[in-house]
Subunit: 133 residues, 2 copies
DNA sequence: TTAGGTAGTTACCAAAAGGTGCGTACTTGT
DNA sequence: ACAAGTACGCACCTTTTGGTAACTACCTAA
């Protein structure tokens, strides 16, 4: 009957936990939730805060987050339109985890950059058969 | 000269921190790193552990993780082939963050499922203009 | 009157992600 | 002699993701 309610382990494809992880671990979701963790914002403010996001992806992702109960949408029903988005209780609990992820990225990118440079150098330097013990 | 080394904030597109976040917050990476956090594994074991991943995506993602210095590849140079993958120091520090994300998903998916059901019901029940304050 | 700001939606198109199947090279088991 | 297992690489194709531009509806300011 219910197509999505099996073993609650992220390693099981097609279980709700995996679906939740896939939602939560996607680039625009992490950024939007992290931005809203700072304070509630309107459409325009989010657009300005999150460099590189398009209006389309912002709206699309916000709808998805609203649908999953992570963000709350407040429409003041005025004209010109005034809509604010803020985190729900669940969204807030998630945002603390995502912020540690943000911080990890901001702290560890130099290591990743170095590793990449090394790796690419090793590949280009010719001796192709050097990936052993 | 260097195309990717600006403001170290994830909100800035095209900075290394953002690139790192995008790598790290992608579905296969989170699952592979979480699996390897349990213990080092070979190709076949990862394939069995991570339900739904294809051989192609596994190899592709492992190479990307190896390139970024998050996992280490050990080829015993035997025949038949015997290759094991394990986390590097950096990979391990990341995996602790990702495991809290896994646990969040496994604990909170019921709330998300409920929210989705509510939302979809509200949409289908007809009264289309009820998303206000 | 005309432009601009608000928060969108829609249609169309390009790029990226990902699946499937086949080939490789060598060994072991039947 | 032949199939199977290991750890892939490559080519082909479909699906998903995301960008761009145009349009809506209403108000305000010049």
């Amino acid at each position: 009957m219910d197509s999505h309610k099996k073993d609650p382990s992220v390693f099981d494809a097609d279980c709700s936990a995996r679906h939740a992880l896939e939602l939560v671990a996607s680039k625009w979701c992490t950024l939007i939730l992290s931005a809203l963790a700072e304070h509630p914002m309107r459409n325009g403010a989010l657009l300005r805060r999150i460099d590189g996001i398009s209006q389309k992806m912002l709206t699309q992702t916000l709808r998805e987050l609203e649908r999953n109960g992570l963000v709350l949408r407040e429409d003041k029903q005025t004209v010109p339109p005034h809509v604010t988005y803020r985190l729900s209780q669940t969204g807030q609990s998630l945002s603390t985890v995502l912020l540690t992820l943000d911080r990890w990225a901001e702290q560890n990118f130099p290591a990743l950059d170095r590793a990449k440079a090394d790796y690419d150098l090793r590949q280009s330097v010719g001796h192709k058969s050097s990936r052993s013990v």
